[in-house]
């Protein structure tokens, strides 16, 4: 059983594991029971039938359809009246060319990259610091603080945006009350540059706890002997954290980065929820909101499909690019 038990660690990111999100099986030798079950023919296929059917219907088919739509457009014949007047014809890469030169989509992409550049490092930095603090010695109140920091995970993004949205409103916010009492200037949190911070704060608030737990879990799996050796060598807690703990949880840091990039580039519900509270969030603030507008505001599903495919491709390129960079760096370090 040992070989199978080690298998998941690579994916979750415990020390020594591979930071690949797609799990691989270990090359351990099969136990006799497993070897014999090779002949059990149909059973595994039957067991996997529901997942396969659902995958085909709700993953493969929609992706295929999105690709098909993105390569077609509607051609209107004559006055566009009557049956057959509107036809879907091959458009080649026309929709993609339109999307890539669409200033609104590009502006949205830039906004989200700026937003992500704040959210991902701050959120994961905090998650790492909190995880290290939870893992350090003689800390008190860990049960309470761990639960409290994890709590926002149970709050839907829409509700989180709504709560913070009210806290940003000058009339109801305690921040403005304090600033007012102190006679300090009161910035508009829902406009211009501060809007990025306001939106980033919502994502950081919502995501830190979950990532903290992931990192904390892999910290907990480091055997104690490792620290004892370091302590005997006279290492301070700070040195232990920097030189031993962080390198050993690097795989789970890489993994949390990877998934945070994917989630951040798809931001939708938070800016959509803040929209009723301010005029500064346009209906096309993030690329995903623009795609939604194309599909349901303008009814141009072909442009929307091309936009969706582009966002998906950009997300995968960025997240896998990061993964490759992280992998090659760790290989270099191993070589040293």
């Amino acid at each position: 059983m040992t070989s199978t038990r080690k298998e998941p660690s690579g994916v979750v990111g415990t020390p020594g594991g591979r930071p690949t999100p797609v799990a691989r099986t270990s090359g351990g030798r099969p136990s006799p029971a497993r070897a014999r079950s090779r002949g059990r023919g149909g059973a595994p296929y039957v067991f996997l039938l529901p997942a396969t059917v659902l995958f085909a219907l709700f993953f493969a088919l929609p992706i295929g359809y999105a690709l098909w739509l993105s390569l077609h457009k509607v051609e209107v014949k004559g006055l566009g009246l009557g049956a057959g007047a509107r036809q879907e014809v091959w458009a080649g890469l026309e929709n993609y060319a339109d999307a890539l030169t669409d200033s609104e989509l590009l502006a949205g992409a830039l906004r989200v990259v700026g937003y992500g550049a704040i959210v991902v490092p701050v959120m994961l930095g905090l998650a790492l610091v909190f995880a290290l603090m939870l893992d350090s010695e003689k800390v008190r109140l860990t049960r309470f603080t761990r639960l409290a920091i994890f709590l926002p995970y149970a709050v839907p993004g829409v509700v989180a945006a709504l709560l913070w949205g009210f806290l940003y409103l000058p009339d109801v916010s305690p921040f403005y009350f304090v600033l007012d009492e102190l006679g300090l200037p009161q910035p508009d949190l829902l406009d211009g540059g501060p809007l990025y911070l306001a939106l980033s704060n919502i994502a950081v608030w919502g995501g830190t706890g979950f990532n903290m737990i992931v990192i904390y879990t892999s910290l907990q799996s480091i055997p104690n002997e490792v620290y004892e050796a370091a302590r005997l060598d006279g290492a301070t807690p700070l040195q232990i954290a920097l030189r031993i703990k962080i390198p050993m949880v690097a795989p789970s840091l890489v993994l949390t980065f990877f998934f945070s990039i994917i989630a951040t580039l798809q931001v939708f519900s938070e800016p959509t929820t803040l929209k009723p509270l301010t005029n500064s969030v346009s209906t096309t603030w993030s690329p995903l909101m623009k795609v939604y507008q194309d599909a349901f505001g303008k009814g141009d599903i072909h442009a929307a499909a091309a936009g969706a495919v582009l966002i998906a491709v950009a997300t995968l390129v960025l997240s896998f690019g990061f993964l490759r960079a992280a992998n090659s760096r760790s290989k270099q370090e191993e070589a040293r």
């Binding site: 797609v22 014999r36 595994p44 993953f59 913070w164 599903i301």
Partner: protein
């Protein structure tokens, strides 16, 4: 850093004969910096929740006039206003969310359990291919799925129905992944083989022997999926137009949208938001006795 100070004082205590050097004295020392950092983090995370608890007690007038953290007098009124709003549609939304999240998570856990078990226990042609393809689903951004899902479901005349929100979320690649890990760790191959010796069929071995062993892991899959569905906004936002079928996230959003024209609705939004976060918090507190947060990240204790 404060632990440094603790370290320095340690030899001093040791040199004084007769002083308690045992656990009681040592336990009293607190690593100050880590503890304070964590407490600050906890306060930051609790701030909006504390705010909504207090804001929900305020009447519409108090909300904009009294100090933020001063409790108001209007909680009962807010509650009855919320109950009365469009004949109690708020509770309909809560019920819908419970249905989507509860039934959705249950179906999802069942599919994950049977798939994860098959992938962990059997060796068969195409096993890794099937697993890799399913896992690729994790990486698919929801955006590339949700809009074509809508268009395809529209062709089947299923949009704006309960099914349109339930079905696309039943297959959870992350759930399959977790279930595979738990099955590999918790179900020994020998036990499966023993079942076969006794003449039990494959399905019977799964339901009678393997499934009970996988329960702690499956609770995690269920909770994870429950939260994912409960918190989901994009899918119902795209699929639904009849507000009788809205989940709570979408319902609160539409309430807020109307509130921007009629600030009187703000107190309803705030009271509604408070009640909307309570069920999940209660759920987490209720299950944490037999469920560890660590399981969420797939850690399997040996």
């Amino acid at each position: 850093m404060s632990t440094l100070a603790v370290r320095k004082s340690a030899p001093a205590a040791g040199t004084t004969p007769g002083t308690a050097q045992g656990p009681p004295a040592r336990r009293r020392r607190i690593a100050l910096v880590p503890t304070l950092t964590l407490v600050l983090g906890a306060l930051y995370c609790l701030l909006p929740v504390a705010w909504v608890v207090i804001a929900a007690t305020k009447s519409g007038r108090e909300l904009f006039s009294t100090f933020t953290f001063l409790p108001g007098t209007g909680f009962a009124d807010n509650l009855s206003d919320l109950n009365a709003y469009r004949d109690g549609v708020y509770w309909k939304w809560m019920g819908n969310s419970a249905l989507y999240a509860g039934l959705g998570a249950l179906l999802s856990t069942a599919v994950s359990a049977v798939s994860g078990y098959a992938l962990a226990i059997y060796r068969f042609r195409g096993r890794e291919t099937v697993f890799s393809i399913l896992m690729a689903g994790v990486l698919m951004p929801p955006v590339i799925l949700a809009i074509p899902q809508y268009l395809l479901l529209a062709k089947a005349d299923l949009t704006d129905s309960y099914w349109s929100v339930l079905l696309p979320l039943v297959l959870s690649p992350y759930g399959v992944y977790l279930a595979r890990i738990y099955a590999a760790a918790a179900v020994p191959g020998d036990v499966v083989e023993a079942g076969r010796m006794d003449g039990a069929g494959e399905w019977r071995i799964f339901t009678r022997i393997a499934l009970p062993m996988m329960v702690p892991g499956l609770v995690t899959v269920f909770l994870f999926q429950f939260v994912a569905v409960w918190n989901n906004f994009l899918l119902p936002y795209i699929m639904l137009s009849d507000d009788e079928k809205f989940p709570i996230t979408l319902g609160l959003f539409t309430l807020l949208e109307q509130g921007s024209n009629t600030p009187a609705l703000y107190t309803l939004v705030i009271t509604g938001a408070l009640l909307a976060v309570l069920p999940l918090i209660a759920l987490f507190l209720a299950v944490q006795r037999f469920w560890s947060l660590d399981l969420l990240s797939g850690a399997v204790k040996s």
